[in-house]
Protein backbone atom coordinates (compact mmCIF):
# COMPACT_ATOMS: atom_id res chain seq x y z
CA UNK A 1 0.00 0.00 0.00
CA UNK A 2 1.34 3.42 -0.90
CA UNK A 3 1.64 6.22 1.62
CA UNK A 4 -1.07 8.17 -0.17
CA UNK A 5 -3.45 5.30 -0.08
CA UNK A 6 -2.73 4.72 3.59
CA UNK A 7 -3.47 8.33 4.44
CA UNK A 8 -6.57 8.21 2.34
CA UNK A 9 -7.80 5.12 4.18
CA UNK A 10 -7.09 6.67 7.57
CA UNK A 11 -9.02 9.77 6.56
CA UNK A 12 -11.84 7.63 5.31
CA UNK A 13 -11.92 5.70 8.56
CA UNK A 14 -12.21 8.98 10.42
CA UNK A 15 -15.10 10.02 8.24
CA UNK A 16 -16.81 6.69 8.72
CA UNK A 17 -16.46 6.89 12.49
CA UNK A 18 -17.83 10.45 12.46
CA UNK A 19 -20.78 9.35 10.37
CA UNK A 20 -21.47 6.42 12.62
CA UNK A 21 -21.35 8.73 15.63
CA UNK A 22 -23.96 11.06 14.12
CA UNK A 23 -26.28 8.32 13.09
CA UNK A 24 -29.31 7.99 15.33
CA UNK A 25 -31.79 6.43 12.98
CA UNK A 26 -31.38 2.85 14.18
CA UNK A 27 -34.48 1.57 15.87
CA UNK A 28 -33.60 -0.82 18.64
CA UNK A 29 -36.74 -2.84 18.30
CA UNK A 30 -36.35 -3.34 14.58
CA UNK A 31 -35.73 -7.01 13.80
CA UNK A 32 -32.29 -7.68 12.43
CA UNK A 33 -32.23 -8.57 8.73
CA UNK A 34 -31.65 -12.26 8.30
CA UNK A 35 -30.95 -12.98 4.67
CA UNK A 36 -29.45 -9.70 3.62
CA UNK A 37 -25.99 -9.38 5.01
CA UNK A 38 -25.48 -5.76 4.20
CA UNK A 39 -23.73 -4.68 7.37
CA UNK A 40 -20.09 -3.80 7.80
CA UNK A 41 -17.43 -6.18 6.60
CA UNK A 42 -17.16 -7.97 9.91
CA UNK A 43 -20.74 -9.14 9.92
CA UNK A 44 -22.01 -12.20 8.15
CA UNK A 45 -20.30 -15.44 7.47
CA UNK A 46 -18.07 -14.39 4.63
CA UNK A 47 -14.90 -12.42 4.93
CA UNK A 48 -15.36 -9.65 2.38
CA UNK A 49 -12.89 -7.33 0.85
CA UNK A 50 -9.57 -8.74 -0.11
CA UNK A 51 -7.11 -7.41 -2.60
CA UNK A 52 -9.20 -7.78 -5.71
CA UNK A 53 -12.18 -5.63 -4.90
CA UNK A 54 -10.37 -2.96 -2.88
CA UNK A 55 -8.86 0.19 -4.39
CA UNK A 56 -10.72 2.53 -6.62
CA UNK A 57 -13.08 0.11 -8.21
CA UNK A 58 -16.52 1.26 -7.22
CA UNK A 59 -16.17 1.38 -3.46
CA UNK A 60 -13.98 4.44 -3.23
CA UNK A 61 -14.53 7.98 -4.37
CA UNK A 62 -12.01 10.81 -4.61
CA UNK A 63 -12.46 13.73 -2.29
CA UNK A 64 -11.36 17.38 -2.53
CA UNK A 65 -7.86 18.75 -2.48
CA UNK A 66 -6.48 21.81 -0.76
CA UNK A 67 -5.95 24.51 -3.42
CA UNK A 68 -2.38 25.66 -3.85
CA UNK A 69 -0.84 22.94 -1.69
CA UNK A 70 2.56 21.71 -2.83
CA UNK A 71 1.95 18.31 -1.28
CA UNK A 72 -1.58 17.60 -2.35
CA UNK A 73 -3.55 14.99 -0.48
CA UNK A 74 -6.55 13.44 -2.11
CA UNK A 75 -9.17 12.29 0.31
CA UNK A 76 -10.89 9.03 -0.39
CA UNK A 77 -13.98 7.85 1.45
CA UNK A 78 -14.63 4.15 1.72
CA UNK A 79 -18.27 3.23 1.49
CA UNK A 80 -18.61 -0.35 2.67
CA UNK A 81 -21.95 -0.66 0.93
CA UNK A 82 -20.14 -0.26 -2.39
CA UNK A 83 -17.86 -3.21 -1.65
CA UNK A 84 -19.16 -5.78 -4.11
CA UNK A 85 -19.25 -8.34 -1.29
CA UNK A 86 -21.61 -6.13 0.69
CA UNK A 87 -23.44 -4.16 -1.96
CA UNK A 88 -27.01 -5.42 -1.70
CA UNK A 89 -27.48 -4.91 -5.42
CA UNK A 90 -24.54 -7.23 -6.08
CA UNK A 91 -25.26 -10.98 -5.93
CA UNK A 92 -21.88 -11.47 -4.18
CA UNK A 93 -23.42 -9.96 -1.08
CA UNK A 94 -25.70 -12.97 -0.90
CA UNK A 95 -23.78 -15.95 0.43
CA UNK A 96 -26.59 -18.17 1.70
CA UNK A 97 -28.45 -20.63 -0.49
CA UNK A 98 -31.70 -22.02 0.91
CA UNK A 99 -33.17 -25.45 0.25
CA UNK A 100 -36.62 -26.94 0.45
CA UNK A 101 -37.40 -29.66 2.98
CA UNK A 102 -35.60 -32.90 2.11
CA UNK A 103 -34.22 -31.23 -1.03
CA UNK A 104 -30.70 -30.75 -2.34
CA UNK A 105 -31.50 -28.87 -5.53
CA UNK A 106 -30.40 -25.25 -5.90
CA UNK A 107 -33.59 -23.26 -6.48
CA UNK A 108 -33.70 -21.00 -9.55
CA UNK A 109 -33.77 -17.87 -7.41
CA UNK A 110 -30.28 -18.74 -6.10
CA UNK A 111 -28.75 -19.43 -9.52
CA UNK A 112 -27.56 -15.78 -9.89
CA UNK A 113 -25.88 -16.04 -6.48
CA UNK A 114 -23.96 -19.16 -7.46
CA UNK A 115 -23.08 -17.68 -10.85
CA UNK A 116 -21.79 -14.46 -9.29
CA UNK A 117 -19.51 -16.31 -6.89
CA UNK A 118 -18.32 -18.60 -9.66
CA UNK A 119 -17.43 -15.61 -11.82
CA UNK A 120 -15.62 -13.93 -8.93
CA UNK A 121 -13.69 -17.08 -8.00
CA UNK A 122 -12.72 -17.81 -11.60
CA UNK A 123 -11.20 -14.35 -11.94
CA UNK A 124 -9.67 -14.45 -8.44
CA UNK A 125 -7.85 -17.77 -8.38
CA UNK A 126 -6.15 -17.00 -5.07
CA UNK A 127 -9.46 -16.75 -3.22
CA UNK A 128 -10.74 -19.82 -1.43
CA UNK A 129 -14.14 -20.63 0.04
CA UNK A 130 -15.68 -23.14 2.39
CA UNK A 131 -19.25 -24.15 1.60
CA UNK A 132 -20.96 -25.04 4.88
CA UNK A 133 -24.07 -27.21 4.65
CA UNK A 134 -26.77 -27.06 7.33
CA UNK A 135 -30.00 -28.89 8.11
CA UNK A 136 -32.95 -28.56 10.42
CA UNK A 137 -32.93 -30.39 13.73
CA UNK A 138 -35.18 -33.34 13.00
CA UNK A 139 -33.85 -36.87 13.15
CA UNK A 140 -30.40 -38.42 13.45
CA UNK A 141 -27.50 -36.01 14.00
CA UNK A 142 -25.08 -38.03 11.91
CA UNK A 143 -27.54 -38.49 9.06
CA UNK A 144 -28.23 -34.76 9.19
CA UNK A 145 -24.49 -34.15 8.95
CA UNK A 146 -24.49 -36.21 5.75
CA UNK A 147 -27.55 -34.30 4.46
CA UNK A 148 -25.81 -30.97 5.14
CA UNK A 149 -22.84 -32.28 3.19
CA UNK A 150 -25.16 -33.12 0.32
CA UNK A 151 -26.33 -29.49 0.23
CA UNK A 152 -22.77 -28.15 0.41
CA UNK A 153 -21.80 -30.62 -2.32
CA UNK A 154 -24.64 -29.40 -4.56
CA UNK A 155 -23.23 -25.87 -4.33
CA UNK A 156 -19.66 -27.12 -4.80
CA UNK A 157 -20.62 -29.01 -7.95
CA UNK A 158 -22.50 -26.03 -9.36
CA UNK A 159 -19.47 -23.78 -8.82
CA UNK A 160 -17.22 -26.46 -10.27
CA UNK A 161 -19.39 -26.73 -13.37
CA UNK A 162 -19.04 -22.97 -13.82
CA UNK A 163 -15.25 -23.28 -13.92
CA UNK A 164 -14.16 -22.81 -10.29
CA UNK A 165 -11.11 -24.96 -9.49
CA UNK A 166 -11.45 -27.83 -6.98
CA UNK A 167 -8.64 -26.38 -4.88
CA UNK A 168 -10.65 -23.19 -4.31
CA UNK A 169 -13.63 -24.94 -2.66
CA UNK A 170 -13.99 -27.15 0.38
CA UNK A 171 -17.48 -28.50 1.04
CA UNK A 172 -18.14 -29.35 4.70
CA UNK A 173 -21.18 -29.86 6.87
CA UNK A 174 -22.38 -28.59 10.23
CA UNK A 175 -25.50 -30.76 10.02
CA UNK A 176 -27.95 -29.61 12.68
CA UNK A 177 -25.16 -28.61 15.09
CA UNK A 178 -24.88 -24.87 14.42
CA UNK A 179 -28.42 -23.61 13.83
CA UNK A 180 -28.75 -20.01 12.70
CA UNK A 181 -32.34 -19.90 13.86
CA UNK A 182 -33.44 -21.50 17.10
CA UNK A 183 -36.81 -23.01 17.78
CA UNK A 184 -38.58 -25.95 16.26
CA UNK A 185 -41.14 -24.06 14.17
CA UNK A 186 -41.19 -24.23 10.38
CA UNK A 187 -39.73 -20.72 9.93
CA UNK A 188 -36.68 -21.59 12.02
CA UNK A 189 -36.25 -24.95 10.35
CA UNK A 190 -36.45 -23.40 6.88
CA UNK A 191 -33.79 -20.87 7.89
CA UNK A 192 -31.51 -23.77 8.85
CA UNK A 193 -31.90 -25.68 5.56
CA UNK A 194 -29.07 -23.75 4.05
CA UNK A 195 -25.58 -23.71 2.57
CA UNK A 196 -23.31 -20.76 3.34
CA UNK A 197 -20.42 -19.62 1.15
CA UNK A 198 -17.64 -18.46 3.45
CA UNK A 199 -14.55 -16.70 2.04
CA UNK A 200 -11.31 -17.66 3.76
Amino acid sequence: MTRTALLARLAALGAAVALAGCSSAVKLDEPAPVENRTGSGAAGAGGPGGPAEGGAAGGVRPGGTTPGSERPVQQVTVDPSKDPMNDPSNPLSRRSIYFDFDSFTIRDEFRPVVEAHAKFLVSNKARRIVVQGNTDERGSREYNLALGQKRAEAVRRALNALGVADAQIEAISFGEEKPKALGGDETAMAENRRADIVYQ
Binding site: S140, L145, Q149
Partner: protein, 422 residues
Amino acid sequence: MNFLWALLATVLVLLSPPGAAQMRIDVTGVGATQLPIAIAGFATEGRVPQDVAAVIRSDLARSGAFRVIDPQQTLSETAAVDFTGLKGRGADSVVAGSVARLADGRYDVRYRLYDTVRQQPIAGESLVAPEADLRLAGHRIADAIFERLTGEKGIFSTRVAYVTKEATRFRLNVADWDGENVQSPLVSPEPIISPAWSPDGTRLAYVSFEQRKPVVYVHVLATGQRTAVANFRGSNSAPAWSPDGRTLAVALTLNGLSQIYLINAADGANARRLTTSNAIDTEPAFSPDGRHLYFTSDRGGAPQVYRIPVAGGDATRITFGSGYNTSPRVSPDGRTLAFLTRRDGRYFVALKDLAGGAETVLTDGGREEAPSFAPNGRWVMYTTQAAGRDVLMASSTDGRVRQRLSSSLGDIREPAWGPFAK
Protein backbone atom coordinates in the same frame (compact mmCIF):
# COMPACT_ATOMS: atom_id res chain seq x y z
CA MET B 1 -48.50 -52.08 28.14
CA ASN B 2 -48.92 -48.43 29.06
CA PHE B 3 -51.01 -49.13 32.13
CA LEU B 4 -47.98 -50.86 33.58
CA TRP B 5 -46.23 -47.54 33.53
CA ALA B 6 -48.82 -45.98 35.74
CA LEU B 7 -46.57 -45.62 38.73
CA LEU B 8 -46.45 -49.25 39.72
CA ALA B 9 -43.12 -48.23 41.07
CA THR B 10 -41.52 -44.83 41.10
CA VAL B 11 -38.11 -44.24 42.51
CA LEU B 12 -36.78 -40.72 42.71
CA VAL B 13 -33.13 -40.27 43.33
CA LEU B 14 -31.72 -36.80 43.73
CA LEU B 15 -28.03 -36.66 43.14
CA SER B 16 -25.90 -33.60 43.50
CA PRO B 17 -22.18 -34.23 42.98
CA PRO B 18 -20.27 -31.24 44.30
CA GLY B 19 -19.59 -28.63 41.65
CA ALA B 20 -21.53 -30.42 38.93
CA ALA B 21 -24.96 -29.84 37.46
CA GLN B 22 -27.65 -31.45 39.52
CA MET B 23 -28.72 -34.69 37.91
CA ARG B 24 -32.09 -36.22 38.50
CA ILE B 25 -33.06 -39.81 37.81
CA ASP B 26 -36.66 -40.98 37.54
CA VAL B 27 -37.50 -44.67 37.19
CA THR B 28 -40.88 -45.94 36.03
CA GLY B 29 -42.21 -49.43 35.49
CA VAL B 30 -41.16 -52.82 36.81
CA GLY B 31 -39.75 -55.97 35.26
CA ALA B 32 -41.86 -58.95 34.28
CA THR B 33 -40.61 -60.71 37.39
CA GLN B 34 -39.27 -58.99 40.47
CA LEU B 35 -37.06 -60.87 42.89
CA PRO B 36 -37.71 -59.78 46.49
CA ILE B 37 -34.40 -59.07 48.25
CA ALA B 38 -33.63 -57.58 51.67
CA ILE B 39 -30.49 -55.46 51.83
CA ALA B 40 -29.43 -54.66 55.40
CA GLY B 41 -27.26 -51.75 56.42
CA PHE B 42 -23.58 -52.67 56.39
CA ALA B 43 -21.73 -52.72 59.71
CA THR B 44 -18.96 -50.10 59.80
CA GLU B 45 -15.59 -49.81 61.53
CA GLY B 46 -13.94 -46.41 61.60
CA ARG B 47 -14.98 -43.40 59.51
CA VAL B 48 -16.90 -44.63 56.46
CA PRO B 49 -17.99 -41.77 54.15
CA GLN B 50 -20.17 -43.81 51.80
CA ASP B 51 -23.32 -45.84 52.48
CA VAL B 52 -22.39 -48.87 50.36
CA ALA B 53 -25.63 -50.73 51.10
CA ALA B 54 -27.60 -47.73 49.77
CA VAL B 55 -25.68 -47.93 46.47
CA ILE B 56 -26.57 -51.63 46.17
CA ARG B 57 -30.24 -50.97 46.99
CA SER B 58 -30.44 -48.17 44.42
CA ASP B 59 -28.79 -50.24 41.69
CA LEU B 60 -30.96 -53.31 42.17
CA ALA B 61 -34.18 -51.26 42.50
CA ARG B 62 -33.45 -49.28 39.33
CA SER B 63 -32.81 -52.46 37.38
CA GLY B 64 -36.53 -53.24 37.61
CA ALA B 65 -35.65 -56.89 38.26
CA PHE B 66 -35.76 -56.64 42.08
CA ARG B 67 -38.17 -55.58 44.76
CA VAL B 68 -35.83 -54.17 47.38
CA ILE B 69 -36.75 -54.49 51.03
CA ASP B 70 -34.88 -52.35 53.57
CA PRO B 71 -35.08 -54.28 56.86
CA GLN B 72 -34.04 -51.12 58.77
CA GLN B 73 -31.28 -52.95 60.56
CA THR B 74 -27.50 -53.28 60.39
CA LEU B 75 -26.24 -56.76 59.64
CA SER B 76 -22.60 -57.71 59.15
CA GLU B 77 -21.69 -60.69 56.97
CA THR B 78 -20.62 -62.62 60.05
CA ALA B 79 -23.72 -61.97 62.16
CA ALA B 80 -26.53 -64.47 62.62
CA VAL B 81 -29.43 -63.87 60.22
CA ASP B 82 -33.10 -63.99 61.25
CA PHE B 83 -34.14 -66.00 58.19
CA THR B 84 -37.67 -66.62 59.43
CA GLY B 85 -38.32 -62.96 60.12
CA LEU B 86 -36.90 -61.82 56.73
CA LYS B 87 -38.75 -64.56 54.89
CA GLY B 88 -41.88 -63.40 56.68
CA ARG B 89 -41.32 -59.92 55.19
CA GLY B 90 -41.26 -61.45 51.72
CA ALA B 91 -37.51 -61.60 51.10
CA ASP B 92 -36.28 -64.61 49.14
CA SER B 93 -32.70 -63.49 49.68
CA VAL B 94 -30.82 -61.16 51.98
CA VAL B 95 -27.58 -59.21 51.76
CA ALA B 96 -25.41 -58.48 54.80
CA GLY B 97 -22.00 -56.85 54.91
CA SER B 98 -19.43 -54.58 56.48
CA VAL B 99 -17.08 -51.73 55.61
CA ALA B 100 -13.90 -51.39 57.66
CA ARG B 101 -11.27 -48.69 57.35
CA LEU B 102 -7.81 -50.22 57.00
CA ALA B 103 -4.55 -48.87 58.43
CA ASP B 104 -3.46 -47.60 55.00
CA GLY B 105 -6.64 -45.54 54.61
CA ARG B 106 -8.34 -47.91 52.17
CA TYR B 107 -11.50 -49.82 52.98
CA ASP B 108 -12.27 -53.52 53.25
CA VAL B 109 -15.80 -54.07 51.90
CA ARG B 110 -17.34 -57.49 52.55
CA TYR B 111 -20.74 -58.88 51.78
CA ARG B 112 -22.60 -62.14 51.93
CA LEU B 113 -25.74 -63.09 49.99
CA TYR B 114 -28.08 -65.58 51.70
CA ASP B 115 -31.01 -67.60 50.42
CA THR B 116 -33.75 -67.25 53.06
CA VAL B 117 -35.46 -70.47 52.01
CA ARG B 118 -32.40 -72.69 52.20
CA GLN B 119 -31.11 -70.50 55.06
CA GLN B 120 -27.54 -70.53 53.80
CA PRO B 121 -25.04 -68.21 52.03
CA ILE B 122 -24.96 -68.47 48.23
CA ALA B 123 -22.35 -65.79 47.43
CA GLY B 124 -19.86 -63.52 49.16
CA GLU B 125 -16.72 -61.54 48.57
CA SER B 126 -14.18 -59.14 50.07
CA LEU B 127 -13.09 -56.07 48.09
CA VAL B 128 -10.43 -53.53 49.06
CA ALA B 129 -11.09 -50.05 47.71
CA PRO B 130 -9.72 -46.55 48.20
CA GLU B 131 -12.22 -43.98 49.46
CA ALA B 132 -12.88 -42.65 45.96
CA ASP B 133 -13.95 -46.14 44.81
CA LEU B 134 -16.38 -46.99 47.61
CA ARG B 135 -19.35 -46.36 45.32
CA LEU B 136 -17.70 -48.54 42.68
CA ALA B 137 -17.32 -51.30 45.31
CA GLY B 138 -21.09 -51.07 45.87
CA HIS B 139 -21.72 -51.27 42.11
CA ARG B 140 -19.49 -54.33 41.83
CA ILE B 141 -21.33 -56.08 44.67
CA ALA B 142 -24.65 -55.21 42.96
CA ASP B 143 -23.26 -56.72 39.73
CA ALA B 144 -22.31 -59.94 41.54
CA ILE B 145 -25.73 -60.22 43.23
CA PHE B 146 -27.54 -59.48 39.96
CA GLU B 147 -25.58 -62.16 38.10
CA ARG B 148 -25.97 -64.74 40.87
CA LEU B 149 -29.76 -64.30 41.03
CA THR B 150 -30.70 -63.58 37.38
CA GLY B 151 -27.98 -65.43 35.49
CA GLU B 152 -27.08 -62.30 33.50
CA LYS B 153 -24.20 -59.92 33.93
CA GLY B 154 -25.01 -56.65 35.71
CA ILE B 155 -24.18 -53.24 34.28
CA PHE B 156 -23.95 -51.35 37.58
CA SER B 157 -20.19 -50.75 37.37
CA THR B 158 -20.27 -49.62 33.72
CA ARG B 159 -19.89 -46.03 32.58
CA VAL B 160 -21.76 -43.89 30.09
CA ALA B 161 -20.36 -41.13 27.86
CA TYR B 162 -22.63 -38.28 26.79
CA VAL B 163 -22.51 -34.66 25.69
CA THR B 164 -23.99 -31.74 27.58
CA LYS B 165 -24.72 -28.29 26.19
CA GLU B 166 -25.06 -25.40 28.60
CA ALA B 167 -25.49 -22.06 26.80
CA THR B 168 -22.65 -22.18 24.26
CA ARG B 169 -20.40 -24.59 26.14
CA PHE B 170 -20.20 -28.22 25.10
CA ARG B 171 -18.85 -30.92 27.42
CA LEU B 172 -18.04 -34.50 26.69
CA ASN B 173 -18.77 -36.32 29.94
CA VAL B 174 -18.10 -39.74 31.40
CA ALA B 175 -20.22 -40.84 34.37
CA ASP B 176 -21.12 -43.99 36.26
CA TRP B 177 -24.26 -45.61 34.92
CA ASP B 178 -26.29 -43.93 37.68
CA GLY B 179 -25.14 -40.42 36.69
CA GLU B 180 -22.69 -40.12 39.61
CA ASN B 181 -18.96 -39.43 39.45
CA VAL B 182 -19.19 -37.14 36.41
CA GLN B 183 -15.91 -36.26 34.70
CA SER B 184 -15.47 -34.10 31.60
CA PRO B 185 -12.63 -35.21 29.35
CA LEU B 186 -13.38 -32.41 26.85
CA VAL B 187 -14.87 -28.92 27.13
CA SER B 188 -15.30 -26.87 23.96
CA PRO B 189 -17.13 -23.82 22.60
CA GLU B 190 -17.94 -25.87 19.48
CA PRO B 191 -20.25 -28.89 19.14
CA ILE B 192 -19.19 -32.44 20.05
CA ILE B 193 -21.17 -35.42 18.73
CA SER B 194 -21.02 -39.20 18.32
CA PRO B 195 -18.88 -40.41 21.23
CA ALA B 196 -17.91 -44.09 20.90
CA TRP B 197 -16.09 -46.23 23.49
CA SER B 198 -13.11 -48.32 22.55
CA PRO B 199 -13.87 -51.98 23.37
CA ASP B 200 -11.43 -51.90 26.33
CA GLY B 201 -13.04 -48.75 27.77
CA THR B 202 -9.81 -46.73 27.82
CA ARG B 203 -10.47 -44.41 24.86
CA LEU B 204 -13.31 -42.43 23.32
CA ALA B 205 -13.63 -41.59 19.66
CA TYR B 206 -15.87 -38.62 18.85
CA VAL B 207 -16.54 -35.83 16.36
CA SER B 208 -15.50 -32.32 17.41
CA PHE B 209 -16.18 -29.12 15.44
CA GLU B 210 -13.36 -27.17 17.13
CA GLN B 211 -11.56 -26.75 13.78
CA ARG B 212 -14.70 -25.20 12.24
CA LYS B 213 -15.52 -28.51 10.55
CA PRO B 214 -16.24 -32.04 11.74
CA VAL B 215 -13.04 -33.93 12.63
CA VAL B 216 -12.79 -37.39 14.29
CA TYR B 217 -10.58 -37.63 17.38
CA VAL B 218 -9.46 -40.52 19.55
CA HIS B 219 -9.05 -39.44 23.18
CA VAL B 220 -7.16 -41.48 25.82
CA LEU B 221 -9.20 -40.93 29.00
CA ALA B 222 -6.42 -41.53 31.51
CA THR B 223 -3.93 -39.10 29.93
CA GLY B 224 -6.04 -36.65 27.94
CA GLN B 225 -3.93 -37.39 24.88
CA ARG B 226 -5.94 -36.66 21.71
CA THR B 227 -5.26 -37.67 18.12
CA ALA B 228 -7.15 -36.31 15.12
CA VAL B 229 -7.49 -39.67 13.37
CA ALA B 230 -9.72 -38.43 10.53
CA ASN B 231 -9.13 -34.85 9.42
CA PHE B 232 -9.51 -35.14 5.67
CA ARG B 233 -10.77 -32.52 3.28
CA GLY B 234 -14.52 -32.24 3.73
CA SER B 235 -16.41 -33.73 6.69
CA ASN B 236 -15.20 -36.53 8.98
CA SER B 237 -17.71 -38.22 11.27
CA ALA B 238 -19.53 -41.24 12.71
CA PRO B 239 -16.65 -43.20 14.31
CA ALA B 240 -17.30 -46.88 15.18
CA TRP B 241 -14.76 -49.25 16.78
CA SER B 242 -14.08 -52.71 15.47
CA PRO B 243 -14.44 -55.33 18.25
CA ASP B 244 -10.64 -55.79 18.42
CA GLY B 245 -10.14 -52.04 18.95
CA ARG B 246 -7.68 -51.72 16.07
CA THR B 247 -9.89 -50.24 13.36
CA LEU B 248 -12.35 -47.39 13.17
CA ALA B 249 -15.10 -47.17 10.59
CA VAL B 250 -15.76 -43.51 9.77
CA ALA B 251 -17.83 -41.49 7.28
CA LEU B 252 -15.66 -39.35 4.97
CA THR B 253 -16.59 -37.09 2.05
CA LEU B 254 -13.47 -37.43 -0.10
CA ASN B 255 -15.56 -38.17 -3.17
CA GLY B 256 -18.49 -35.86 -2.54
CA LEU B 257 -21.18 -37.49 -0.41
CA SER B 258 -20.50 -39.38 2.83
CA GLN B 259 -19.06 -42.84 2.30
CA ILE B 260 -17.76 -45.37 4.82
CA TYR B 261 -14.03 -45.91 5.19
CA LEU B 262 -11.89 -47.98 7.54
CA ILE B 263 -8.86 -46.38 9.21
CA ASN B 264 -6.33 -47.47 11.81
CA ALA B 265 -7.66 -46.47 15.23
CA ALA B 266 -4.20 -45.62 16.56
CA ASP B 267 -3.15 -43.03 13.99
CA GLY B 268 -5.81 -42.76 11.28
CA ALA B 269 -3.51 -44.28 8.68
CA ASN B 270 -4.38 -46.76 5.93
CA ALA B 271 -7.75 -45.28 4.95
CA ARG B 272 -9.62 -47.66 2.67
CA ARG B 273 -13.08 -47.14 1.24
CA LEU B 274 -15.66 -49.78 2.13
CA THR B 275 -18.89 -48.53 0.54
CA THR B 276 -19.26 -47.29 -3.03
CA SER B 277 -22.59 -45.66 -3.74
CA ASN B 278 -23.77 -42.46 -5.37
CA ALA B 279 -25.74 -41.77 -2.21
CA ILE B 280 -25.21 -41.11 1.49
CA ASP B 281 -23.60 -43.95 3.46
CA THR B 282 -22.98 -43.15 7.13
CA GLU B 283 -23.46 -44.24 10.78
CA PRO B 284 -21.45 -47.47 10.59
CA ALA B 285 -21.74 -50.02 13.44
CA PHE B 286 -19.75 -53.27 13.62
CA SER B 287 -21.43 -56.58 14.32
CA PRO B 288 -20.01 -58.11 17.54
CA ASP B 289 -18.04 -60.70 15.52
CA GLY B 290 -16.44 -57.87 13.53
CA ARG B 291 -17.42 -59.40 10.19
CA HIS B 292 -20.22 -57.03 9.16
CA LEU B 293 -20.97 -53.35 9.26
CA TYR B 294 -24.50 -52.04 9.66
CA PHE B 295 -24.94 -48.51 8.30
CA THR B 296 -27.46 -45.91 7.15
CA SER B 297 -27.83 -45.26 3.41
CA ASP B 298 -30.30 -43.38 1.23
CA ARG B 299 -29.26 -45.33 -1.88
CA GLY B 300 -32.86 -46.48 -2.26
CA GLY B 301 -34.17 -42.90 -2.09
CA ALA B 302 -34.84 -42.76 1.66
CA PRO B 303 -32.61 -43.57 4.62
CA GLN B 304 -32.58 -47.26 5.58
CA VAL B 305 -30.27 -49.56 7.49
CA TYR B 306 -28.08 -51.85 5.39
CA ARG B 307 -25.43 -54.47 6.18
CA ILE B 308 -22.21 -55.07 4.29
CA PRO B 309 -19.38 -57.59 4.87
CA VAL B 310 -16.26 -55.86 6.22
CA ALA B 311 -14.24 -57.97 3.76
CA GLY B 312 -16.19 -56.29 0.96
CA GLY B 313 -19.25 -57.31 -1.02
CA ASP B 314 -22.83 -56.32 -1.65
CA ALA B 315 -24.96 -54.40 0.84
CA THR B 316 -28.18 -56.00 2.08
CA ARG B 317 -31.13 -53.91 3.17
CA ILE B 318 -32.20 -54.66 6.76
CA THR B 319 -35.02 -52.24 7.72
CA PHE B 320 -38.35 -51.78 5.92
CA GLY B 321 -41.06 -50.64 8.33
CA SER B 322 -40.82 -46.90 7.63
CA GLY B 323 -39.43 -44.41 5.12
CA TYR B 324 -36.87 -43.22 7.67
CA ASN B 325 -34.73 -45.73 9.56
CA THR B 326 -31.29 -44.60 10.77
CA SER B 327 -28.69 -44.88 13.56
CA PRO B 328 -28.22 -48.69 13.71
CA ARG B 329 -26.71 -50.30 16.82
CA VAL B 330 -26.26 -54.05 17.22
CA SER B 331 -26.89 -55.79 20.55
CA PRO B 332 -23.83 -57.41 22.19
CA ASP B 333 -25.12 -60.89 21.28
CA GLY B 334 -25.54 -59.83 17.65
CA ARG B 335 -29.21 -60.83 17.58
CA THR B 336 -31.04 -57.51 17.84
CA LEU B 337 -30.77 -54.23 15.97
CA ALA B 338 -31.73 -50.96 17.68
CA PHE B 339 -32.36 -48.03 15.33
CA LEU B 340 -34.16 -44.73 14.97
CA THR B 341 -37.42 -44.81 13.04
CA ARG B 342 -39.80 -42.07 11.93
CA ARG B 343 -43.51 -42.82 12.18
CA ASP B 344 -46.13 -40.16 11.41
CA GLY B 345 -43.52 -37.43 11.64
CA ARG B 346 -42.28 -38.52 15.09
CA TYR B 347 -39.04 -40.28 15.95
CA PHE B 348 -38.80 -43.45 18.03
CA VAL B 349 -36.25 -46.08 18.93
CA ALA B 350 -37.22 -49.44 17.42
CA LEU B 351 -35.84 -52.96 17.75
CA LYS B 352 -35.57 -55.66 15.12
CA ASP B 353 -34.81 -59.32 15.62
CA LEU B 354 -32.02 -59.88 13.09
CA ALA B 355 -33.05 -63.51 12.63
CA GLY B 356 -35.94 -62.14 10.57
CA GLY B 357 -38.34 -60.82 13.16
CA ALA B 358 -40.58 -57.79 12.97
CA GLU B 359 -39.58 -54.21 13.71
CA THR B 360 -41.12 -53.13 17.02
CA VAL B 361 -41.20 -49.61 18.40
CA LEU B 362 -39.64 -49.53 21.89
CA THR B 363 -40.19 -45.93 22.99
CA ASP B 364 -43.10 -43.49 23.10
CA GLY B 365 -41.60 -40.00 23.40
CA GLY B 366 -41.60 -39.07 19.71
CA ARG B 367 -38.41 -36.97 19.87
CA GLU B 368 -35.89 -39.79 20.22
CA GLU B 369 -32.34 -40.02 18.86
CA ALA B 370 -29.07 -41.91 19.27
CA PRO B 371 -29.83 -45.42 20.65
CA SER B 372 -26.99 -47.22 22.46
CA PHE B 373 -27.07 -50.76 23.94
CA ALA B 374 -25.96 -51.59 27.47
CA PRO B 375 -23.15 -54.17 27.36
CA ASN B 376 -25.51 -56.88 28.71
CA GLY B 377 -28.08 -56.10 26.01
CA ARG B 378 -30.87 -55.56 28.57
CA TRP B 379 -31.12 -51.79 28.11
CA VAL B 380 -31.08 -49.25 25.32
CA MET B 381 -30.12 -45.69 26.22
CA TYR B 382 -31.17 -42.81 23.97
CA THR B 383 -31.91 -39.09 23.86
CA THR B 384 -35.38 -37.63 23.98
CA GLN B 385 -36.88 -34.26 24.86
CA ALA B 386 -38.74 -33.27 28.01
CA ALA B 387 -39.85 -29.71 28.79
CA GLY B 388 -37.87 -28.38 25.83
CA ARG B 389 -34.60 -29.98 26.93
CA ASP B 390 -32.65 -32.96 25.71
CA VAL B 391 -32.64 -35.68 28.37
CA LEU B 392 -31.31 -39.23 28.45
CA MET B 393 -33.59 -42.22 28.75
CA ALA B 394 -32.80 -45.87 29.25
CA SER B 395 -35.46 -48.42 28.39
CA SER B 396 -35.24 -52.12 29.15
CA THR B 397 -35.37 -54.02 25.87
CA ASP B 398 -38.67 -55.61 26.94
CA GLY B 399 -40.06 -52.06 27.25
CA ARG B 400 -41.19 -52.53 30.85
CA VAL B 401 -38.77 -50.29 32.75
CA ARG B 402 -37.58 -46.81 31.92
CA GLN B 403 -35.14 -44.43 33.53
CA ARG B 404 -34.79 -40.76 32.77
CA LEU B 405 -31.61 -38.81 33.46
CA SER B 406 -32.00 -35.05 33.28
CA SER B 407 -29.87 -32.07 34.25
CA SER B 408 -30.95 -28.87 35.91
CA LEU B 409 -28.64 -26.81 33.73
CA GLY B 410 -28.99 -27.81 30.08
CA ASP B 411 -29.24 -30.44 27.40
CA ILE B 412 -27.91 -33.99 27.79
CA ARG B 413 -27.55 -35.96 24.57
CA GLU B 414 -25.52 -38.41 22.46
CA PRO B 415 -25.25 -41.25 25.00
CA ALA B 416 -22.78 -44.07 24.48
CA TRP B 417 -22.94 -46.94 26.96
CA GLY B 418 -19.45 -48.18 27.81
CA PRO B 419 -18.22 -51.79 27.91
CA PHE B 420 -18.11 -54.06 30.99
CA ALA B 421 -15.39 -52.99 33.41
CA LYS B 422 -12.35 -55.21 33.14
